[in-house]
Symmetry: D2
Subunit: 343 residues, 4 copies
């Protein structure tokens, strides 16, 4: 029997409303490269969502959103601070280095996926500001929710942004799971980003019910100007943009993005809570979005896989389970039941 897949949120299908929006967008000709009505409307929709003038650049992948964002924030001789487990550092095949012309990612120690203000302060203090042999602090990249399934509380985001700005740096937020963070915290998109000091956001939708649609959301017009060209030059401007814009519009329409992410979060909470009660299973990080990290006996991992559950073994007995928007209580309980038999 096929079991639910907890491998990643990008194994999930496309949410119904998104698919319907794609189909609806397929009516007759429309101007290319973002000049169509849906794409134009999208700019305003995101403006409403973020309660600000913003510029939205739909792109094909989260990697593109991140790397393009950073390319607009750092000179080639800049240092980009991120956590040591940041996706941009660890899992994007050097995209950030490529798009920035060779800027340097500086991985910082993290706790539960979060970089502390103190850690950033020390890094800047030791960076050699003004010394020509040193790459110069240029940008901070925060992942919200983090790669360890946690979130940055708003005051921490603000404190990190303030510190970065004091030193002339810009702040990027990798929001591959921004919806999960916003839903989990019950905080508005504006409060989570520009009101706290974020300059550019990678707004992830693909992991949250879209088909292939992420977006760069820019709160600063000067950055937007550069991205107009950088996106095109990167082959990230769809000629039939309407179909990507339609996905993004459908995702934010009526708060769907928060509904989907909220469901995913609740399933992760249920899963984490259930697993944490099992003998020999250790919950490694607080479950604040839709990811659960546990230490689990090898026997249990193998048993779950043998029974058809997709889970990621990260080595050393550490297992990650991700609940996409389409995971239901029954899926979670089926996994928990199976795990119990493997205690």
């Amino acid at each position: 029997m096929a079991q639910a897949d907890f491998y990643s949120d990008n194994v999930a299908p496309v949410a119904g409303a998104v698919l319907r929006a794609i189909v609806a967008a397929n009516a007759g000709p429309a101007a290319g490269y973002g000049a169509d009505a849906v794409s134009q409307r999208l700019q305003r929709r995101f403006g409403d969502l973020f309660e600000a003038e913003v510029r939205v650049f739909p792109v094909a992948t989260g990697t593109a959103a991140n790397a393009l964002s950073l390319s607009a924030l750092t000179p080639p001789y800049g240092a980009v601070y991120c956590s040591s487990v940041a996706h941009i550092h660890d899992s994007e095949c050097g995209a950030a280095e490529f798009f920035t012309g060779g800027a340097k990612l500086v991985p910082l120690p993290e706790q539960d996926g979060r970089v502390s203000v103190e850690t950033l302060r020390e890094a800047i203090a030791g960076a050699g500001v003004g010394r020509p042999q040193k790459v110069q602090p240029a940008a901070l990249s925060l992942t919200q929710g983090t790669e360890r399934g946690t979130v940055y509380p708003v005051p921490q985001v603000r404190a990190l942004c303030d510190l970065a700005h004091e030193h002339g740096m810009k702040v990027h937020m990798d929001g591959a799971r921004f919806a999960n963070a916003a839903a989990g915290m019950g905080v508005s998109a504006a409060d989570l980003t520009w009101r706290a000091g974020v300059d550019v956001l990678s707004f992830g939708a693909t992991k949250n019910g879209a088909m292939g649609a992420d977006a760069i959301v820019v709160f600063d017009p000067a950055i937007a100007e550069a991205l107009t060209y950088r996106c095109r030059r990167a082959g990230q401007v769809f000629s039939k943009m309407r179909f990507v814009s339609a996905q993004l519009e459908a995702i934010v329409e009526g708060g769907l993005w928060l509904d989907l992410a909220g469901q995913a979060n609740r399933m992760a909470a249920r899963l984490g809570s259930g697993l944490g009660r099992l003998q020999g299973v250790e919950l490694l990080h607080p479950v604040e979005i839709n990811e659960v990290f546990v230490r689990m006996p090898p026997r249990m991992v193998e048993g779950l896989r043998a029974r058809g559950f997709g889970v990621v073994d990260r080595g050393g007995g550490i297992v990650r389970l991700v609940t996409a928007f389409d995971i239901a209580e029954g899926d979670v309980d089926a996994l928990l039941d199976a795990a119990r038999t493997l205690e």
Copy 2:
């Protein structure tokens, strides 16, 4: 009344079969990043189509396909020869320069969009091969069908490839309208590419009925290896790849790509033929694919636009009209009727 849009083939909607394939792909979870069944199958489908072992890399845009292809063919100190009207040179915001680490595009004189063997020979002869102050001939990029609505006959492709290979260069084919060329010439995909010496093809589908799906088709495993990483690093590997692969599969399934392109070509022929008979209209290039280039009185251009027809004025009275796959005889005739009243 809304009229047909002859602005570009990317103003067209998505072909029905493609949309159905996307919907069909949306069934339950599937592995990400191309490990899904549709994407795996796509490799074989393209192998069948090209009668060879190939590697297919689905990407978001034609610009990405072109620039990534070139990045695998030239060192940063290489010269990439193309026609002076090549899309890679003229309309991709320097993508080729970006992806190659600063290789130099060398535009060559063209006739009807085609570069002649003699022209290429002279360019290589004057390139300063082996002189360190000169960028070194590394790649040739041919557009098939060309940016002037014509095609390269197979013998000319072969002669150009032979010449390039003799000088240690590789050959890229920009096939944004490859389907139109293949349909127009009645030549197999294999004969048009690797059998004639092409090393890498940008296979365009977006202009031919897809939603957002182009592909790099590689005939050389060593190049494929590098592209595996280059594509990822460029943010061009979709996590939910199945939805892009499904588009490509639907396009080639049962020869749909040739049917759609053939229809587009026929409409262009009809349009070109009709326009060519008008007073004051001069057909500028043979109509061999789905583009018509004419010199037209300003009054006629303005009149067509006033009546709602999308056409591109390229300056100097030169007008481009593109017939997408969804243009019907009635659309063409309506434009011709309108034009006649503007003679």
Copy 3:
């Protein structure tokens, strides 16, 4: 018998005063990377020379000076206009593309090596400003004296700079033979550069008596800040900087640079004048600095070479002769005598 070498001005040895300055700089320890007394003094010397606050970055080669300068003036998606015979376009193996992260050099038609205001205006008009598929006008690079042995009169420099600035572009001057231009025109360094609107100058000294010392002279502090890091990152900051600074100081000390260049210019004038009187020899460009371009019968070229004279055959019977600072009247007359026997 060894004859003088008219092959290039970089076949010449080092001027005596420069060599003495190097030897003088070799006294005991000195701080590295430009913190030494000579290098500090150099900043002021160039300030005096240019009658302005400037920042000087000594670098190893003219190619480095040009490419680094441009990297500070254009974003990667920029267009850099230059003449079609510009050294940066033709003879630096793509250095500008490399250092700028893939900006595009746009070669413009020239007359006697000079780009006209009208030509630049047309290029900008056709550039597609604001269109994302087009690289955006970012910089103009003028060579003074030009690659054809001529100079730009000051009013022309000013008009070109004004036009560039009107369109938000910056202006670079490739001054590989800046000394020859200044000496030939009898114009001050300030009048030739920032007073006419030049933003950054590649100040060439190697061709004019130095050993290996060119410099970027920056008239805008914001550009200087970026170059501090870009130069280091390019491996262009000498640890024992004093020895390069000493060369530059010696070159400008007491007007030596103008004396050396003046001598070179006079010899070129003598040579050009003499050759122009010969049967079958055609002077191709006005001789305004230290280069002479002639069309000459193959027999004469071969004969001169057979007699030991270094000259460059550029193909098509076009011959370039360069007079370095160490060429004397006797050298010129010997060549003219030889040429006469080959008429």
Copy 4:
């Protein structure tokens, strides 16, 4: 009274023989860009020195030598392993990232500046070879002598190279203080490099008596071909190359490089030994080349500086003292005497 400067070996002047060679090279015209007699001879001299066919590329700085070397060894999506204190990682303003098109430096834990075979093995094991989201192991860069004043014994170099080659990687040696390592170990240049598996060497001369001359020494013709163009494109090919070649020739002539380095090493040994006997001073690493690292009371550091001794305080009470080739016993003893009064 002026005291000796232990700040760095690049505060030293130029060795007499080197200066004489420069002066000697200044005789009449000579072909540019390495076609002169001295530069041609240099190729053979280095061939003799390394007992192999080599290609030598003289460059302006050690940073250029390192970054250019790496650019020929790794694709842009490669990982370059080095120690966490490697100069290429820490003190070259991202040059390696720039020249390689954005490859990733992966800093590894070190002990006394050395990376162990075990550490490298673990790094490769965890690198995700073949996984597209990961930069791929491409090169290893070893510093010989290390940034902590130690050397890699030949068997360790060989074991590291073997391991790297087994995984398809290439090996670069940063030999900014290669002479000090060779002199200290009494090992031939060949045994220290290609015989142990090194593919490319940055041969430092500037820190060892030259004026501004480092060299890339290549043991593989395919790499040399690429560097021909990469060096030019980087503005690292001197037009008056003879003056740089002459420095390199003088340095290796008659073993001068080993004599100078040997003297520097002996002075470091004397200094380290003397400092190690002082109350409150702790020798932090074995003194195997010409650098001494100690922990020293702040009072002592300040006192030494107040008495005019140049030393580098690296923070946390850690002090580096470097003995250049021109440091004499009296200089060392003067510092030791001063330090004793500050115990």
